[in-house]
């Protein structure tokens, strides 16, 4: 069953096409990771899917889809006092027991009474995650949830996401630039750069030599994403340039 499906999605921002003709769908229970270089439209895709952007094309949602959203960044003004407990009650109030459960599941059980502004990056993310869980989501959308976390922290966070999926059976859609960390937890990886470049099961991608060459270690992964960005003359797809594109996984027309 498809939870969200987008057909021919295009988003323009100030006359500049950020996303062009993107087809996307996510099934119940699936973990999908969207990767791509900076400015490739990853966050734009997430924001279009939650309904925050005007866009062309169609977005169909399962009726009454319960959505849990963890934004990329949340700036809480220093003038706004906000305990974690209070934050979890936005926009819908939940029982104290439910909040405690959600915090525990997100790995932040001791945070309830803390001020949001005092939390570390990792704790903040856990509070955001707990809030998203309170909705009992069928689909959890996380936009670069590990930004600002170190690598072990990221790995632990993704492990937690996978556990949550396994326990609840909810679908997870996340954006990341840390492909090597995310890979193992994902059912499907979609690489976008203004359009869908390629997608596929991570084990298929991971076994490919190109993948090992590109995403084997930390910095190379980041480098590879950049290279990807600049190598969009796809006519030499089978040629010398190492490339993530796996023949069977490419879904768009290569110009």
């Amino acid at each position: 069953m498809k939870l969200i499906e987008a057909d021919g999605l295009s988003v323009a921002y100030r006359g500049h096409n950020v996303l062009q003709n993107v087809d996307f769908a996510i099934e119940a229970g699936e973990i999908v990771t969207v990767v791509g270089p900076n400015g490739s439209g990853k966050s734009t895709l997430m924001r279009a899917l939650i309904g925050a952007l005007r866009c062309e094309g169609t977005i169909r949602r399962k009726s009454d889809l319960r959505l849990g959203y963890v934004p990329q960044r949340l700036m809480i003004d220093a003038a706004l006092p906000m305990t974690v407990n209070r934050f979890l009650d936005l926009p819908h109030k939940s029982s104290k027991a439910a909040k405690t459960r959600a915090l525990k599941e997100a790995g932040g059980e001791h945070l309830a009474k803390r001020q949001m502004g005092q939390l570390s990056g990792g704790q903040f993310q856990r509070a955001l995650l707990a809030r998203a869980l309170l909705n009992d989501p069928e689909l959890l959308i996380l936009d670069e949830p590990t930004q600002g976390l170190d690598q072990p922290g990221s790995a632990a966070f993704y492990q937690q996401i996978e556990n949550i999926r396994n326990r609840r059976g909810c679908a997870v859609l996340m954006v990341s630039h840390e492909l090597h960390v995310v890979m193992s937890a994902s059912d499907r990886v979609i690489c976008i750069n203004g359009h869908v470049c390629c997608q596929g099961r991570p084990d298929v991608v991971a076994q490919a030599e190109e993948y090992r060459a590109l995403f084997g270690t930390g910095t190379k992964g980041a480098l590879a994403l950049y290279r990807h960005e600049h190598s969009h003359a796809h006519h030499d797809r089978a040629a010398d340039v190492p490339h993530l594109h796996h023949k069977d996984e490419c879904t768009h027309d290569h110009v």
Partner: protein
């Protein structure tokens, strides 16, 4: 002899009590709405927006007097137009800060020029700039409390959504509601507060009654709700304290209320525990 003097005194005292009582009620009414609304102004960094809306109201005053409308009506209309103008103009090349700076001061200047064409307003321009709380009539009180209760009701009704949209528009979208609508609610509330506060503190100091009580409440508040209630209380205390001070020291009432609020803010810096 004794009788006459008694009558005289009692008549004097009654009338005196009455206008001071009306002034106090008017000040407290404005403060109760301005405190919680001011919290949103502070949280969303809309201070300049408040200024622009308030300053534009002087144009509304001129309009009202020229057309023989109640001051409240003209001020409300112009404040709404101004707020709408700001909302549509932002994000068109100029930064919001610059745009609001232009609009806030231009609208004040336009208003002052417009007022000069209306002889009756020219006479008591000071009353519209700095308020004239001691001249608050029973009808004014009706307008002030009507507007204040409307704003408080609006804030309570939309509270959860307003707060969510303030934290992050995307959180609002993901939860299935439009944060722009919440922005409109705040804009409407702001225009109402500006319109009813002119009589009490005048257009120049309305922003102060929005921001200072909220800022003073911050240090003592662990949650947004407590901050909103505290801001209302601090605003009310400032209104009463300022009125008292104005009476004792023979100073203008509106500015004295703002001075009181500012003093409370200073104490909050010293007394309040910084929580983060």
């Amino acid at each position: 002899m004794f009788r006459i003097s008694t009558i005289k005194t009692s008549a004097h005292t009654t009338m005196f009590d009455d206008f001071l009582m009306r002034a106090a009620l008017g000040g407290v009414g404005v403060a109760l709405a301005a405190g919680p609304l001011g919290c949103f102004v502070v949280w969303r960094r809309m201070a300049y927006f408040g200024d622009a809306t308030a300053h534009a109201a002087i144009l509304g005053v001129a309009l009202s007097l020229a057309l023989s409308l109640p001051v409240f009506v003209g001020a409300l209309i112009i404040a709404l137009i101004m707020a709408g103008l700001v909302l549509t103009l932002t994000g068109r090349g100029l930064t919001e800060d610059t745009l609001l700076g232009v609009l806030a001061h231009a609208s004040l200047a336009f208003g002052l020029v417009a007022v000069s064409f209306v002889p009756s307003a020219r006479l008591d321009l000071g009353a519209y700039l700095f308020g004239e709380i001691l001249a608050v009539s029973k009808a004014d009180l009706g307008v002030i409390w009507g507007g204040a209760l409307l704003v408080i009701g609006l804030l309570i009704w939309r509270w959860q959504k307003l707060l969510s949209a303030t934290l992050s528009p995307d959180l609002a979208w993901a939860s299935g509601f439009n944060p722009d609508r919440e922005k409109l609610v705040l804009t409407l509330a702001l225009a109402i507060v500006v319109a009813v506060a002119i009589k009490v503190v005048g257009v120049l100091l309305i922003s102060a009654m929005l921001i200072i009580p909220a800022a003073a409440a911050r240090r003592f508040a662990p949650t947004p709700e407590i901050m909103a209630v505290l801001a209302a209380v601090i605003g009310g205390v400032s209104a009463l304290g300022g009125l008292q001070a104005a009476f004792v020291f023979d100073t203008p009432a509106g500015p004295s209320m703002v001075v009181t609020a500012a003093v409370i803010f200073c104490f909050s810096l010293i007394l309040g525990r910084k929580r983060d």
